[in-house]
Subunit: 376 residues, 2 copies
């Protein structure tokens, strides 16, 4: 039901095939994020048309609303979302530590308050498994502790200890053989802690390993410095998933050290804010200069938005507050990320990955993080 | 380039075929409204999939933003909106009198202030034609005066006088032979004034006639009492278009007195507010009772939303504030109106139009106007 095989390599970068109960997919792969069970503003047929082969949904958000039990009773996540391809759910760990109000962290789990209505809730290895079993994704994640960066060595050590212990408990409590459970490597920027965590998880033995706790505010260089040594420790015959990343430059750097899977809200979040990705860098669709531009968002792009509408029209949609502006720019951005990853796969197969920045100069750019640009 | 022929009749109700430069369509027809150049929240491929054969865009809104000149420079309305089928634009008359701040009405035209930014603007027969020629729709409308109901007989008489005079001026100033210019019959609930207006417009001679100034707050019975005598005066070989209507019961009543064309924002406006149309009456998608409902919005509906998603999911989308809730409910509603009109056409051809309320009980219901229900 679940298998992974590496098909081509270019240095540490590799192409692979991942088999899941809802179909197979090629790696390296970018997963669009459907936080609350919907890729924001884009119908699943359009998501599919961007080339997405697997999508992600957030356990934390779905457990808060409508709850995993409701999703289960409505047929499970695939039926619920109208997506018959592979789905991955995260464990809720990251959101508990970044969005919720923490009441108490113990070695057993986390008590927190919903960021929506303040309701008191609890996540621990067992509940994270019950919830994700109810949601029914093809790939699910162990419950981890994701400490904020920077933090003291003691805090990090404790978080890694818990992450290891919780990973074992998750494996014990995981109740569905049709779902692949991945462990998550924590350890912040401390390479020794990362290695300790990875080795302990490998000892427990998972069908795939995620690298969490990066892209949380550190620099690109810091991220890469922690990522490379971590990826090298992980088994070559299992998929490696870098959570919550990211910008094209980050994706490329991660692929180059052997990461296979990615997810990020950038295509849709930036799309809603009128920022479109192109191979030569991001552009602002609200800009006056697009007013009379009859060309597409990105010349040569084969997405629905670029094949159908002009920059001038999309600028008008944002100016007029029309929902279609965010939707079309999100569609373009989703397709942009898929085109970027597809080209990465092609170049790995040819042993020419290093040339990707010729076609996608954005992958060499220290492009501004969206929040910085949005608030500039 | 433009022609109309009646193919079947059932009493005063009739089926017809309308030929336009962007394709032919069957009447009676319902036109979804793309106010600012977009059917709100629905991509054109999904609009097309609902069965829409012609759509409407609002001259007033497009002239305010981005202006008709910009639409022209971006390739005209069809290219701008990504809609290669027939398009109709209204004249802006109704919006000027209902949305804008009126500064001055004279026999020459109207000076008003934009409801968006207060900019001073002017519409008169000549500018209404220049603007609509720039927009480039297949069917365009004469500039009319649409007085509020109720109003004094003097106000109505003056409005009808101006509407007639302006219609003649519009015909003079209309500069594109590939656009069909329709006259608009005003006269409120005064049947004699309606008849006087219609006869004067017929004298001027248009390829089609609209009935304006109804569905502006009067009762269903009042509307029908003004509509029937007006429709009977209009030439049988020209299309008749009832502007801004409306609820299924209103559509049926109008079809039964020989009206061929309709437009209304109801499918999308109500859809955004979580109200779904069904044959047995409207339903509220936010209702708690849909929480665990695995069925579609409307059993038997062939729309994308009903074929793909459950009521429970769509309720969740509205609860979670996801854009897809309004989009999917709008798609369903647009399809509902197209299914209703398609069935009306079938039953006219069979001479069985009176049986439509067996299949669509909603067409016999004094369904609440959306604003009443929304604010209830």
């Amino acid at each position: 039901m679940f298998s992974f095989s590496v098909t081509d390599c270019d240095g540490a970068a590799r192409c692979g095939t991942l088999e899941t109960p809802h179909g197979s997919l090629d790696t390296p792969v970018f997963m669009p994020v459907g936080t609350a069970g919907s890729i924001k503003g884009v119908t699943p047929d359009h998501v599919r048309a961007t080339g997405a082969s697997i999508i992600l949904a957030n356990t934390y958000h779905l457990q808060l609303r409508p709850t995993a039990e409701v999703v289960r009773d409505l047929g499970g996540l695939h039926t619920f979302m109208g997506w018959d391809g592979p789905i991955l759910t995260d464990s809720g760990g990251y959101q508990v530590f970044s969005l919720a109000g923490i009441n108490n962290i113990t070695d057993d789990g986390v008590e927190f308050q919903s960021h929506i209505d303040g309701a008191r809730m609890r996540l621990d290895p067992k509940t994270a498994m019950v919830v994700q079993n109810n949601l029914g994704a093809d790939i699910i994640m162990a419950f981890d502790e994701c400490p904020p960066l920077p933090c003291t060595p003691e805090v990090m050590r404790t978080a890694v200890d818990r992450t290891i212990r919780w990973a074992g408990a998750c494996k014990t409590h995981h109740g569905r053989s049709d779902q692949a459970l991945f462990g998550i490597v924590q350890g912040g920027l401390d390479v020794a802690e990362r290695r300790r965590c990875a080795e302990a998880l490998i000892e427990i033995d998972f069908p795939g390993y995620a690298i969490g706790g990066l892209s949380v505010g550190e620099s690109h260089e810091e991220m890469v410095s922690a990522l490379g040594p971590t990826a090298r420790v992980l088994p070559t015959d299992k998929p490696r998933y870098l959570m919550g990343v990211g910008m094209p430059r980050d994706l490329l750097a991660a692929v180059q050290v052997g990461v296979d899977m990615f997810d990020c809200v950038l295509p849709t979040r930036n799309g809603r804010n009128a920022q479109a990705f192109t191979a030569t860098g991001p552009i602002r669709m609200r800009n006056e200069k697009h007013k009379l531009d009859r060309g597409p968002i990105e010349p040569g792009c084969d997405c629905y938005a670029c094949q159908t509408f002009s920059r001038g029209y999309i600028r008008h949609l944002f100016n007029a507050g029309e929902m279609l502006g965010p939707s079309l720019t999100s569609i373009h951005n989703l397709r942009f990320f898929q085109r970027f990853m597809a080209r990465i796969r092609e170049l790995i197969r040819k042993g020419q990955l290093a040339t990707i920045t010729d076609e996608f100069p954005i992958a060499a750019m220290a492009t501004p993080r969206p929040d910085q640009e949005e608030h500039a």
